[in-house]
Assembly symmetry: C2
Homo-oligomer: 213 residues x 2
């Protein structure tokens, strides 16, 4: 008679968080098909049946994990704005640079994002989350662009179209760098992004701001 394995109770939120983190880890490492109920439970140090106690179905768990990931990315992005200077151009420059530098450019993040994109194409709920987070990022970029142009006395220009283009550029660089990490030197990526924004917006950033992270 092997005795029943001992355990400690972790309380609701902590267990939920652990299960979500385990799910994200597994998806990042081995794709959605690696995130089986048994694998998730094993990584979370728990027994498979417990998942059913916190999530009605596995899909619920995956959806919760996706939401947690997106929230975390949004918060990271928001935090990046905190340390930036007041000068509108410098703020925009810092934001662009941060968007193509670690920890944003993280293979794990790109892997998770591409896994989520597949679901976005098929699931209406996922598409709603994606649209919201996409627009949140783009709106923030648009605001920064509008401020920068305003500081140059160019209020009338179409900041939204510029934000769409800038967002696409950052997305493209982010994805390509994540997929082919060896092909892009971090510094090159940053200088390409900044130079491209100078071209897109017809502006010129100050040259001596590389100290700003």
């Amino acid at each position: 008679m092997t005795p029943r394995r001992s355990f400690v109770r972790a309380g609701g939120e902590a267990r939920r968080a652990a299960l979500i983190e385990a799910t994200l880890d597994l998806i990042a490492e081995g794709g959605p098909e690696a995130a089986t109920v048994r694998a998730i439970a094993l990584r979370a140090g728990v027994t498979p049946g417990l998942i059913r106690h916190y999530f009605q179905t596995k899909e619920d768990l995956v959806a919760a994990a996706h939401e947690a990931l997106m929230t975390s990315l949004t918060e990271t992005s928001a935090a990046a704005l905190e340390g930036l200077p007041d000068d509108p151009l410098a703020r925009l420059r810092g934001f662009v640079a941060a968007s193509v530098s670690p920890p944003v450019t993280d293979p794990r993040a790109v892997s998770l994002w591409s896994a989520a994109m597949q679901m976005v194409a098929r699931d209406a709920g996922m598409r709603a989350v994606h649209r919201a987070t996409y627009l949140a990022f783009r709106d923030r970029l648009e605001a920064l662009i509008a401020e920068a142009l305003g500081a140059l006395g160019r209020e009338g220009e179409d900041a939204q179209s510029l934000a769409i283009a800038g967002n696409a550029l950052l997305d493209g660089l982010w994805i390509e760098a994540g997929l082919l990490p060896d092909h892009f030197h971090p510094d090159d990526l940053k200088s390409i992004a900044i130079k491209s924004f100078e071209g897109l917006l017809q502006i010129r950033f100050a040259r001596d701001q590389d100290a700003i992270r």
Copy 2:
């Protein structure tokens, strides 16, 4: 005694192609997990066991399907260059416009691409195929850019960095349009792409070329 179902022999290549097409359809519609051996066989009008006769393993079939997709995309992209005029700037403009217009911007293509990207992140073979096709596209863009700059007497500039940025921009627009089809009007997408290239390269395309598809 139900008699054994009758069949006609399709010969090697036709059956291979049919199986590959069925695989791509299923992945596009329901993601990789929908492309089971049984579903593929059903859609191809065939019995599951036959797959093993043409492909040693299911992974082989999926890899063959990915290669067929990429080859097809590359050939479509190459064909778009055929009908373009000789003027370097007009050629570049037409190529950019084609890259963000149907049939390139096709939800099915984006769905398939995002499914493949997941495998790229994990499988070395897939990564090799991706690198090759990515560079093939980028090199073509770089050549077009170099010609356009050359026609303006600006030979010395860094066409490769500009191609990286331009490629990222096109990729980003392509992906976002594919994921949120209702958010982008095709004409807006095209004008944003063209205007962005004017900014990136500091050039100005002729205004009266919208007739060129």
